[in-house]
């Protein structure tokens, strides 16, 4: 089955991105396809490559990036939400791309299920 994922909060402050990450890992393990992960609202902060958690903490920016490389995931950061929050190409982690809200709607159309993670 094809899943679309929407993440509305950044790493750290809310558990949303953690929960989404673990959901995606579990879905892939079960043989499902992840059509797209769309980052909206503060979710765009998940793509900030300058993020440097404490060494004994998880690093969601790196985890998403590595998962994208391993499974060819399409991680899309909303351009409008990102621009106002200062997430631009110069701080964008490998594996993420910036695009428009149409990509969220398209994920809703193409995926069999859409799951939203937020605050």
């Amino acid at each position: 089955m094809k899943f679309g994922i929407l993440i509305n909060e950044g790493p750290f402050t809310h558990q949303a991105s953690d929960s989404a990450y673990r959901f995606v890992v579990a879905a892939l393990a079960k043989g499902h396809e992840i059509y797209r992960v769309f980052f909206y609202n503060d979710g765009v902060y998940n793509a900030n490559k300058l993020s440097e958690p404490q060494t004994d903490d998880r690093n969601l920016v790196a985890l998403w990036s590595a998962l994208a490389e391993e499974h060819s995931l399409d991680l899309v950061v909303c351009v409008a939400a990102a621009l106002r929050r200062g997430i631009k190409d110069e701080v964008l982690k490998d594996g993420f791309r910036i695009s428009g809200l149409g990509q969220l709607v398209e994920a809703g159309i193409q995926a069999d299920r859409m799951v939203v993670f937020g605050d």
Binding site: V105, E106, M114
Partner: protein, 129 residues
């Protein structure tokens, strides 16, 4: 605007955008409206629901001059221009907040919780924020 007709047979799904937050205190109301305006350009069956504090987004006479934030309440009027016509407001939420349809900036369909249960259950994709 993107056109996915070339990708295969056209898919038309029922999309519901659920608003449960007041405006200005958080950005969710504004950023959800931005999604709906984009979504309207796709050839899908779109509905927008206002429930809980989401009904406050539609209150008339918003004036944000003194808080310095952009007043986006007039943009709801554009939903009609974008052919977004299924706009539901939950009756119980409206009443609990001491509001009536006369207080709202656009015409809406007021539905009781029992009706909204049915409408929600018919959706293919539910986007909340």
């Amino acid at each position: 605007m993107e056109d996915f007709d070339d990708d295969g047979p056209e898919i038309i799904k029922r999309f519901m955008y659920v608003n449960r937050r007041a405006p200005y205190g958080t950005i969710y109301a504004l950023e959800c409206l931005e999604v709906v305006l984009v979504a309207a350009a796709f050839d899908q069956d779109v509905s927008v629901v206002f429930v809980d504090d989401g009904v406050c987004q539609l209150k008339k006479n918003q004036d944000t001059t003194e808080i310095g934030m952009k007043n986006f309440s007039r943009t709801y009027g554009a939903l009609d221009d974008y052919d977004v016509e299924k706009i539901y407001v939950e009756k119980e939420s409206l009443e609990a907040r001491g509001l009536t349809v006369d207080d709202l900036v656009i015409p809406v369909e007021v539905v009781a919780a029992a009706q909204l249960q049915v409408i929600m259950a018919q959706q293919d994709v539910v986007i909340s924020s």
